[in-house]
């Protein structure tokens, strides 16, 4: 069980230039409990705080206040690698691009073994990465879709208890989205992985048992997709809600 308790995250002084000013609140009092083996989707407008929440769970961001509990332990100040060893793994929205480091390197680190057979096994389990990715450098030459597939594989290779995927479908071709959802479902069922997917993609939102809608750093809705539809449609209509005078009007800002 992973619990966020009254999490507040404000921009630390060290991170901020002039804008946004240090002290600006990005996550504003978020509390939620992720049950073991559940499939959760987090959605919401750009800049609402989804990635920030994921990074708070992984330990990349440290909450300004509040607590994070994992299986009864307070992990609020646990370093990233210790959280990873405890079973929490995050697949980045914008995966790091290295110089020289290959997919094989990342996969071996994740697996804790460079045994060829194990590497091949994991690649076939993931399915979406071809075998000849293995010795490719994970650098700026990889396409947007390729690096996202690699990122996903490195998360799965760790057999996490809690897996967080931040927009795993960005850049992924139409033919791979379905198999990717099936894969995450299978991992969830077979290994009881608590699966959290940040996404704007309806396929992922439909796959989830529970949906969290984030708006301006707060949880605006939790529940099933059907219940969220009115709010999602509202959000999708227009983001200029304060200025809008109707779509037929000459002053539409979209």
């Amino acid at each position: 069980m992973l619990q966020l308790q009254n999490i507040i995250f404000t921009v630390p002084a060290s991170d901020s230039g002039k804008e946004p000013p240090a002290g600006q609140t990005i996550i504003n009092d978020v509390s939620f409990t992720f049950e073991p083996g559940g499939f959760y989707a987090i959605t919401g407008p750009n800049g609402s705080g989804k990635t920030t929440i994921a990074k708070l769970i992984m330990g990349i961001n440290e909450p300004t206040s509040g607590r994070i509990m994992f299986n009864g332990n307070d992990i609020t100040s646990l370093p990233i690698n210790e959280r990873s060893n405890a079973g929490i793994v995050y697949g980045f929205q914008h995966p790091a691009r290295f110089k020289g480091t290959t997919f094989r390197d990342l996969l071996s680190i994740s697996l804790g073994s460079d045994d060829e057979e194990k590497l091949v096994n994991i690649i076939s389990r993931v399915g979406v990465c071809s075998m000849d990715f293995l010795d490719k450098p994970v650098d700026s030459k990889l396409s947007g879709g390729e690096i996202k597939k690699i990122e996903l594989a490195t998360v799965i290779a760790r057999n996490p208890k809690v897996a967080i995927y931040d927009e795993p479908d960005t850049g992924i071709d139409l033919w791979t989205i379905g198999p990717m959802v099936d894969l995450l479902k299978r991992e969830q069922k077979e290994n009881n992985t608590t699966t959290i997917v940040v996404s704007h993609n309806k396929t992922f939102l439909e796959a989830a048992d529970t949906l969290l809608l984030i708006k301006k750093g707060k949880i605006a809705y939790t529940g099933d997709l059907a219940g969220a539809m009115p709010m999602l449609e509202d959000l999708s209509v227009c983001t200029f809600d304060e200025l809008c005078q109707g779509e037929d009007d000459a002053q539409c800002y979209r």
Partner: protein, 306 residues
């Protein structure tokens, strides 16, 4: 005879477990230690007696030459002039390298001046590793010079590596690239403590459709310093790229100066250079896969210098 230290040095610089197969020339403390020629590869001491001439017959393929240098004599500063003639249409690997074992407080040094004449259509891979080991406090100095002359449609890939132990290094690379020829240089240097390394490169794209890619990867630890200069001159329709990346750790200092000079309207020259600490997103990624900070740094550096 090769002793245990010599064997260790050979292993490090040339990946050799003993005497190599094929043609070789082993130089130890300024003297010939062993030589073997093959039907296609001849090695002779040059006229002046201050180096060797390696002559590779036209059409020689899939053969290799090892020419390691071992230095373990206190106070010795060895200078050697080696000439390589790579015959037309051949395809060979040359493994050079120098290992210093320093056991005293006297300095030891090696300056290898290597000239390559690469004939039309020939292809070479040149691998050069520099290392220095030993408990002695004497300075270990390595000043390699490489001069490359490429005729038409030749290919050369040069891997120049110095990963620690060397106190002072001054490298000079010069190359003239003929029509349709391709030169790829990758230099990897790691310095630490108070070490300094300098690399000066003068590369000329002389012939039509000549190409070059010059890659430099530097890791600067401790209070060490590295300077990297490239002057890339284009005299014909050609393509050239320079890529220099330096990672600074601790209090290292780096200067990277790539210069492009086009003396022909159809020259296409580009460069990328970056100096900085290890990227935070790379560290975060590896830590999220369970590595602690130091392990993550090591893996990133390992990949970078590969």
């Amino acid at each position: 005879m090769l002793n245990a230290i010599d064997k260790k040095v050979l292993k490090e610089v040339a990946d050799l477990e003993g005497i190599p197969k094929g043609a070789y020339n082993i130089r130890k403390n300024g003297k010939l230690e062993g030589r073997e020629v093959s039907a296609n590869i001849n090695i002779e001491t040059n006229e002046k007696g201050d180096g060797i001439v390696i002559d590779i017959k036209p059409g020689t393929v899939n053969e290799s030459v090892h020419i390691p240098v071992i230095l373990s004599q206190a106070g010795l500063h060895d200078v050697v002039y080696n000439t390589f003639i790579i015959g037309e249409g051949s395809d060979v690997t040359i493994v050079a390298g120098c290992g210093i074992h320093c056991g005293s407080n006297e300095s030891e040094g090696h300056s290898g001046i290597h000239e390559f004449y690469i004939k039309a259509g020939a292809k070479i891979t040149y691998v050069e590793k520099h290392i220095a080991i030993g408990e002695g406090s004497g300075k270990r100095i390595l000043n390699p010079t490489t001069k490359v002359f490429m005729e038409e449609n030749a290919q050369a890939q040069m891997e120049l590596t110095q990963l620690g132990g060397v106190d002072e290094a001054k490298r000079a690379n010069e190359a003239t690239i003929g029509a349709g020829s391709v030169l790829l240089i990758t230099e990897r240097v790691m310095t630490e403590k108070e070490q300094s390394a300098e690399s000066k490169n003068e590369i000329t794209l002389a012939g039509t459709d000549s190409k070059t890619n010059i890659v430099s990867r530097s890791v600067i630890k401790g209070s060490s310093s590295q300077d990297f200069y490239v002057n890339l001159t284009a005299k014909a329709r050609c393509y050239g790229h320079i890529e220099c990346d330096a990672i600074i750790m601790d209090n290292g200092i780096n200067q990277t100066i790539p210069a492009l000079r086009a003396l022909h309207p159809d020259a296409e020259l580009t460069h990328e250079a970056s100096i900085g600490k290890i990227a935070n997103d790379q560290l975060m990624k590896l830590m999220s896969l369970g590595l602690d900070y130091d392990q993550a740094v090591n893996r990133i550096i390992q990949g970078f210098l590969r």
